[in-house]
Symmetry: D2
């Protein structure tokens, strides 16, 4: 950390800051400059609130230079993490598809979707049994019965299941039913939930919070990893900005810096990002080109009658067409569809 | 809801939309215009995803004209809600202060703070036993032991307790220890938690999510109210924007429209909004002038050594000075400090 | 336009709104609903400030349903606009490259760059003679002398020139020196400047304002087109959000809706979008996959010693590598590098 | 400036950075730490693009510690700037009102407004002769004839005139007609225009850009001051965020840090900030309480028929009522209406 003094700070004020730093069991390194003094700090500064030094007299500002995440950091773990599943694996050189309806619907429909996916080489199916809905009056999902449907679809077809966990109450049931546990954007900083999935054995798909910086996102991953679960998959799904032409602002530019700072795989959910099915294929292709390790795509045999989010959901034919475009694009990028 | 057709939409496309609306058990009202047709929809449209009509051929866009919140809406309940507590009440004509340290600290310190508050006419004390921290390596709060400390401080001084609930696991303990249950900004759309506090008897202080629109915030209040708990207090605490001179962007301009759309009281937390103690008093005064029904202020006998958020925390003297300024300002505004 | 009445609006209030609409020479269409009345408006509403009806008693809100742009709208002009230049053309089926240093530097360097570009099939060179710099103490560009250098580079190599116009004072000189006139992000709503370039014969590359919605951007294009210059090329270069991992938030998701709403070609400037050279290639590939008609890339023979923006500038070798990647990616997308 | 090396940077990489810093005629100060080395830089770093060092091998990031503004900085000029006008002065201890219609309308109306203002102690009238409108089809203002009307109103009543300059073409005419020259939000980084008003003798009211940070705003002021015009008045008018309950997000929290970093006076324009007249008074009072030195308020004798922005414009009676509220509030704040 670096403390920058005001340009008219007195020697006494500087001494006071040096004393305060030593009180925190850290080592100060004064660095006099042409117009002001800066004080470098060495030692373990990760637990310090930099603003506690900023309130000292004569201090202009404090600047943190060490990243606060460790386990999620590429500096600590240079090699890309590969998340290995019974059905496939997620990581470099590949593009893993996760597709399916927004919500779990009838068993017949889920089975039909699972069979369609497996027949097209897609080994992971997404569908929410518990749905975070903005309105208490909207459909809240099929609940535990929905999980049973997913388990039966998996048993019959062998497809892997990706489904959202919204609270600790249903943690065991969701873990049992899923191959990957999804944490939704609104729960990215639900720290009790992050601690709970940190104790699980199943991989966690961690969606980026709507207003989370990359650092906060990696700190949320750190919560899961600090609990002992190292299989975290990041998932960009659009951030909130002033821009109103799409449901959210899909931030594909986060992919290269996320890969630089962290070894974790990163996927993209263009369906939630753009919110309209006609714009999904273009952003899916762009995600692949930007370096995403996988895609979450909402697909339904009859999107116009889907239980939720039909407007951003592709039909089977639409999805097949997208799969073909992705395969064609993957090749010159040296990637392979999983 | 209103469906706007494209300007070259065919009569067949319009008929198809009319049919789709009737299938939803709603009544369409075609409205031909100079360049295009619009179709008004009457009936209960609150549970419909407007995008499901937007994907029909020939449709340009769908526009929702009815607000989706009911219980939180002033249209349904014209009179201002007054939240009545054993110690005081929150609502029009008054300014209710809630003050105290960020985290529960030692019993001695909490007692000293409670006595100071009561001696200065402040009847509600805030302090977190469970702390939502960005880093898993930061202090996570005193937990259940912290709740005990708060209960003893209340028993000895009579002060009301405002403390945060982070998860359903600790719901009973937090409800027992508190007079107002705080839901933090990161949990504003933790719907499982909102449903849980909807079942409680204690009032809920609902902080605005960092990237929540006013409508989403009122929908979160609606979740609590739909469960039967009508005592919801809104609390603005800063939103996320590009602006970097303050910790968050305190959105005081939300107060007048919130009061227009809803009958719920609204408070402001300038400490989290600005993030630096020197800027807190100005924004506290501005909140009062903008029409806030109350203020949450972080106060500590020795802010430089507070367990968390010391940089945005006022000292006892600083807070006393602020109280006096607020009292002087309240008078010409026809308001009274509670 | 649609006026939505409050649910308790009186018949007198509704009559008053009908009268106000007729006063504006428009036709009102009352649409009574279950809980409230809405009033559709037909006629030319494009010049009306919807808020002028919102202040009437009993009105809840006004909703605009017609887009305010005409000449830029695909509804008015279904076919894609192709911008034809002496050197190449910009439009569907192709990917047009514009590359070069941020600022005009020495004649030797500009000539060397132009020759390198032409040798690699890139027929348009970018370089700013007038530089919009945040600080008055930063290098402000080579000015008129820089334009002369560009003209000589064009004369010798045949390359087309893309350079920024910052004010009406230099309009004639910039028009003479350039094949495409660039309007920078900070001037997207400099309406005097837009009107001036609307009178020019040269195509205009209109960068999106840092905080411009798609509609505002198309309205800025409309200013240019209303002056008689229909050759407008949109250019996305990153918007401002809370996100801090990149210089700006490159909004690739604007491409599909821009193409839906407008017939104008759209390019992307990933160099300014991400601000760091190592992240430029990934976002250039993603732009192509998302449907961009072209790319602006900052390239310099010695980026570490560029006069400005070296950090986001590719070297010749880096650019050649990117060109190859783009070519490989263009093929499966049915596109061709221009 | 501070260069932070990666934690595995080699001694050779560090040497290379030291050499690059010395090449820039600056002095490096290596600061070895527990996990990585940081390098402090002293000398005049204000003209350096920090990213040029970030691209060197082994560098993690560069952090700027000196503010880039000088003349606008309170460190250079401790005392508050007071802007002195023939009619009044703007600065500490007072609240200066600037009020009037959005656009210049008929001479009769402007004269009537000026007389009303003077009769109520308001000595500065605002009205735009040149209007920056989003649509080319909207009313663009009365132009030079509008300036004449303003000059005659001033001559007859003695009121001071505040009017917007949109381009250098009309610079002389606007300067002649006005007592304060307004630079609008869309032109905050129109550097050619800033340089032009830097040469003028009249004070400049510099509105904050919709997406400008405080630092960028002060750098825009620095452009004006670097030209020799030190009478700059900052004016907050709302920033762009995701929030949609108001026209813009009025950022009152910028006032205290602006006053800390700069000696320039700061005003607030709540009319443009909130965009609806019913919300203007609350935010005007809040601006005063937050420490604003003045207010810009849109006022019109018949707002429902104003030429532009009537929806956010107060009537004469509404404004008189607001003035009285402001006076009552100013007293306990130790302030006086100007």
């Amino acid at each position: 950390m670096l403390v920058v003094m005001q340009n008219h700070a007195s020697p006494e004020q500087i001494d006071e800051v040096l004393r305060a730093i030593r009180e925190l069991n850290l080592t100060p390194h004064p660095l006099p400059g042409a117009t002001r003094t800066a004080i470098g700090i060495t030692g373990n500064t990760s637990a310090i609130d930099s603003r506690s030094l900023e309130v000292l007299s004569g201090v202009s500002e404090c600047i943190r230079v060490t990243k606060p995440f460790k386990l999620a950091s590429r500096e600590m773990h240079a090699a890309d993490t590969v998340v290995t599943l019974p059905q496939t694996s997620i990581g470099p050189g590949t593009l893993t598809m996760i597709a399916g309806p927004c919500s779990v619907e009838t068993e017949e429909l889920m089975l039909r979707t699972a069979e369609f996916m497996m027949a097209n080489g897609v080994k992971l199916m997404r569908a929410g049994a518990f749905k975070p809905r903005t309105s208490p009056y909207s459909y809240q999902g099929a609940g535990l019965e929905g999980l049973k449907i997913l388990e039966r679809a998996r048993a019959k077809t062998g497809i892997g299941i990706v489904t959202e966990l919204m609270d600790t109450d249903n943690a065991d049931a969701v873990e049992a039913a899923s191959d990957i546990i999804q944490i939704g954007t609104r729960n990215m900083q639900n720290f009790s939930l992050l601690k709970r999935v940190g104790k699980m054995k199943k991989p966690v798909l961690l969606k980026r919070g709507m207003s989370a910086t990359l650092e906060e996102w990696l700190m949320a991953a750190e919560y899961v990893m600090a609990g002992g679960n190292y299989n975290v998959i990041l998932c960009e799904r659009g951030i909130r900005s002033f821009s109103d032409h799409s449901r959210n602002t899909l931030d594909l530019s986060v992919i290269p810096p996320a890969k630089k700072l962290s070894h974790l795989p990163i996927m993209v959910d263009p369906s939630h990002g753009v919110g309209k099915r006609e714009f999904v294929p273009a952003m899916a292709l762009a995600s692949l080109a930007a370096g995403a390790d996988g895609l979450l795509i909402e697909v339904h045999p009859d999107p116009d009658h889907a239980a939720s989010d039909g407007a951003q959901t592709l039909s089977f034919e639409g999805f097949k067409k997208l799969l073909e475009s992705l395969k064609r694009l993957a090749e010159p990028l040296g990637r392979r569809l999983n």
